[in-house]
Symmetry: C2
Subunit: 339 residues, 2 copies
Amino acid sequence: MANAPFSTLEEFRGALKAMPEADKAAIDAAGERNGQLTKPPGALGRLEELAIWYAGWRGEAAPKISRPQVVVFAGNHGVAARGVSAFPPEVTEQMVLNFQHGGAAINQLCRTFGAQLDVHALDLTTPTADFTQGPAMSEAEVVSALRTGWNSVDAGADLLVTGEMGIGNTTSAAAIAHALIGGEAEDWVGRGTGVTDEGLALKAQVVNEGLQANPQATQDALQTLRCLGGRELAAMAGAIAAARHHSIPVIIDGFICSAAAATLEKAEAGALDHCVAGHQSAEAAHAAVLKALGKEPLLALGMRLGEGSGAALAIGVLQGAVACHSGMATFAEAGVSDG
Amino acid sequence: MANAPFSTLEEFRGALKAMPEADKAAIDAAGERNGQLTKPPGALGRLEELAIWYAGWRGEAAPKISRPQVVVFAGNHGVAARGVSAFPPEVTEQMVLNFQHGGAAINQLCRTFGAQLDVHALDLTTPTADFTQGPAMSEAEVVSALRTGWNSVDAGADLLVTGEMGIGNTTSAAAIAHALIGGEAEDWVGRGTGVTDEGLALKAQVVNEGLQANPQATQDALQTLRCLGGRELAAMAGAIAAARHHSIPVIIDGFICSAAAATLEKAEAGALDHCVAGHQSAEAAHAAVLKALGKEPLLALGMRLGEGSGAALAIGVLQGAVACHSGMATFAEAGVSDG
């Protein structure tokens, strides 16, 4: 079992600065291989760059994806008491049971693409503090969630998706995006699981109150995560960092996952170089978060469910890309004229 | 083995008029089921409509995809002698061998998504006639190709992808699109496997010559297919029609497949109701063909390979959609509050 190499937020920051880079020799070898495969140059479009990117992180010219892992974290949010969700907070725990019994969307997607699914419920009976009144988490709480996330990653996995469940967490993600990227609160709040116009205005107000109550959240990205995040957001950040530590490529999910991931990139530029964006959420602000991260989503199918579902669907795209790259014959092997 | 129920082009036209429709009771039952699944309404976005569409064609409220079939047809084109491709015509046969030996992109994608792959080489030693001099195919030739396509479909399959290989066939597809949809030849020609600016101008000229040499091609869509198509395009059309006959949903591939499919829709409105578009090709004119067909592609990853590769990649999306729809628990089953 992995053991997270940090026990304070500053040690986590240090770990982010000590992360491995992609293997340049593997990137070069994969690029050379790509140029010899039986297809016109560039005819596989984005699949080609995806496969080369994946090869770089795995350190192999012709890698395989055989052990994808999906980890879903669940947390409860003090701010849910402000009525920012269309669903009651009990749904977080009910959905954890649904994950455990195999009945949720993410269970079906993991089966479809052969991914291992792990679910971590994070202190559901103790919601984070209402961030309109001060920090959502203490240092000990955020570090605990980061460590849970880090330790959840299977070092033998070769692809990671992180997902979440947490009633109220689009409000937390909106507050994080606002603190990290700027603009107005209204730019970052959306319908979530289905709030009304009135609910939307309330979410914007709550986000503004959150930033006012947490001045340090706009100064430092790890403080943003602590003050405005939730346990499941911190755990996703910890898992994404652990994946980098183990050279495991990551597919980032929707708005909430991307907001959590953005705290890493803001804390340490390049911290998400091992990540691609799986799916552009129907949650309106997601596109702007991805733009800020410089990530072009692989899919855009109007999903807005969470659970890692958009990224899990994109596992198939990455599997296809890597299978083509590593399995196709070269022009020489196949005796095909190369133009 | 299926036996195509037509032996003339007019009998094929008749078969198109006698096709089954989707099962309305299954659509209603699937829609009702969708509303009870453990997710906020609409949160799976396009996956929800895809699953309901699929359920309608399969006649089941909660269907499964267990036998996807990919059929690739290869043909040679007289018009290739005009120099419209960056590759020599021998590549068609070389790539057929590559398919048979498992070395092409489509082989890897079929393995990734568990699809059966069948390859049919169509009289490669006898290219179709150069359509700038008159019809590419006689009635007997186009009917033979339609029949091969029809008979290639496994009646026990539950999803079909049709793909193609044929040096010169983007020029054939451009001529078909121009004849069916209108505009200027320049609107429909593209880089194909990688022609130069000069090659592009030549393709437009060849397309114009093709329409001038075949006045009947702009009068009737099945004549369009005969006069401007190739054997692999006719075979794809035959296979797509057979799938409809067997109530097997189809994922349409890129520019060439879509041009072939468009002849069916133009011959009989609604003939492609059992089809979704898998991937928007980097071949520039593909978007306009899909728009004319009213089909929104599932993926847009810059691919332009043919072989059915874009549609094959989209098998994963449809598998995910149907798995969620048929495998998820309802709110009642999972004991989750539905807001």
